[in-house]
């Protein structure tokens, strides 16, 4: 029987209340949202806290997907299911639909949240790779106010983030640019598992059919989800082609840092980083061109 070590349960009913609790309890406290990553770690005693601050009552305050002309704002308590079912989000960033379909299973997706996924900071976590791909920024609030950090700044290592002991992630912001398309591909050992490797791609096309900008984000091939500036550099200003995707795949494989573990060898993971980068870019370009690529690869 797996049971967490004893802790005191506290429930926050507002963001201010949650931050007040965290200030009072210090680093002996941990926020729990959906709990589907944290509670299993606590059951295995890999994580132990004196206090658990439940923020599920903040879903009304922090559960939203807001489309603005130049950005999409998503509240930290927005659940996987809501991300998966939002047609607005699917239109602007189809990468979310791709990723959500392969995150755990529908019952788990009823509970898990965007904020919880990012704060867990698991190197294999899918939404972290999506946020890296889309160049998201994270809004962190403490009693002194808010600060906004990039994904690179947000993740500081496996299971470590920029969120301080008396702070919380409240929102994730995604810049919207014209001519965009995005996609996500994952290889897993069995349905609903953590990624062996996954790749997200986003492209923004110019009117003349060249790639104005592109980003690729990889999961499970380094201490955190990895953005690849060299790939963006190689794609900018180019016409999409199979040769270009192959070059990007090669750069992705070179630029990541997989380790051999029970999910596969480092060589196999590099191979996947290459192949999945190609597939994600191909699909993202198709979508930017208005081809609704959802089948095959």
């Amino acid at each position: 029987m797996q049971v967490p070590a004893p802790f005191e349960y506290e429930r926050a009913t507002s963001v201010e209340g949650a931050i007040g609790l965290l200030e009072r309890l210090g680093d002996s406290a941990k926020i729990v949202a959906g709990g589907h990553s944290l509670l299993p770690m606590m059951k295995l005693r890999l994580a132990n806290f004196e206090y658990l601050v439940d923020i599920n009552d903040l879903h009304g305050e922090l559960g939203y997907i807001t489309l603005e002309p130049d950005q999409v704002r998503i509240g930290a308590m927005t659940r996987h299911r809501e991300l998966a079912e939002s047609s607005d989000l699917a239109r602007v960033f189809p990468i979310f639909g791709d990723a959500e379909r392969v995150i755990a299973d529908p019952v788990v997706r009823n509970r898990g949240t965007l904020g919880g996924s990012l704060c867990q900071a698991d190197p294999s976590e899918d939404l972290s790779a999506v946020c890296t791909t889309l160049n998201a920024s994270c809004v962190i609030r403490g009693s002194d106010g808010e600060r906004v950090v990039s994904m690179e700044e947000f993740h500081r290592g496996p299971y470590e983030t920029a969120v301080g002991a008396a702070e919380m992630l409240i929102e994730v912001r995604f810049p919207v640019r014209p001519g965009g398309g995005s996609a996500y591909f994952k290889v897993e050992r069995r349905a609903g598992d953590w990624a062996v490797v996954s790749a997200g791609a986003a492209v923004w096309m110019d009117g003349d059919g060249t790639i104005a900008d592109a980003r690729v984000g990889l999961a499970a091939v380094g201490p955190n989800t990895t953005g690849l500036p060299a790939v963006s550099e190689a794609l900018r200003g180019q016409h999409p082609s199979e040769e270009l995707y192959a070059r990007a795949g090669e750069l992705a494989a070179q630029g990541c840092h997989p380790v051999t573990d029970q999910r596969g060898s480092a060589d196999y993971k590099r191979h996947l980083a290459d192949e999945l980068t190609r597939r994600a870019l191909r699909r993202a370009v198709q979508r930017a061109a208005g081809v609704s690529g959802t089948e095959g690869s």
């Binding site: 049971v3 004893p6 349960y9 729990v32 709990g35 299993p40 439940d54 019952v107 609903g192």
Partner: protein, 177 residues
């Protein structure tokens, strides 16, 4: 600490430890052993109950987190001595073999039909994809849920393993239209 929640329509209050999981609260504190306890890692889905109408894995929800919410377990499916159509479907279409996954499967089925009264086979398979049947009896589970959907819609379904492919009503010329 004290927790109060609604379980199958009844408000219950108990003194619990903060670390108590919902599945153990239901089984050990309330004696509702219909909710099964399986993998303990939110993979197998035999512990699924409905929380405010949505399926959740009760091995990965704290009992304290369920405070103030409405929980429905397999014991709350039948009403007034009448089986829920989902239960009838599992009975009629042989939706269970050993029965271990059955409570979780039926609760997910109930939630699916509440949202989508006429699910396709694909939608049913997707809905139960977080749950494992150790007898691998998925085909009959899917058929049971389809049966329940038809039953709810008032369509009596023939209980044959392979229903006829085109069970259309004969069209009579000159019928009232």
């Amino acid at each position: 600490m004290q927790v109060t929640m609604t379980v199958n329509g009844d408000e219950v209050t108990r003194e619990i430890e903060g670390r108590l999981l919902l599945v153990h609260f239901l089984r050990d504190h309330l004696g509702l052993t219909g909710t099964h306890w399986g993998c303990d890692t939110s993979n197998c889905g035999t512990c699924v109950v409905l929380m405010d109408g949505e399926p959740v894995k009760s091995c990965t929800v704290l009992a304290a987190m369920a405070g103030g919410h409405e929980i429905r377990t397999v014991e709350g499916l039948a009403a007034g001595g009448e089986l829920d159509p989902v239960q009838q479907g599992f009975m009629n279409c042989h939706g269970l073999q050993c029965g271990f996954c059955t409570p979780g499967m039926m609760m997910t089925a109930r939630a699916l039909l509440d949202r989508n009264p006429d699910p396709t086979e694909h939608e049913i398979r997707e809905a139960i994809s977080g749950q494992i049947c150790r007898c691998t009896g998925y085909a009959t589970i899917v058929r049971s849920i389809r049966w329940a959907a038809s039953e709810q819609a008032g369509i009596r379904t023939e209980l044959t393993p392979d229903p006829p492919s085109a069970p259309l009503e004969p069209v009579t010329a000159g019928s009232a239209s």
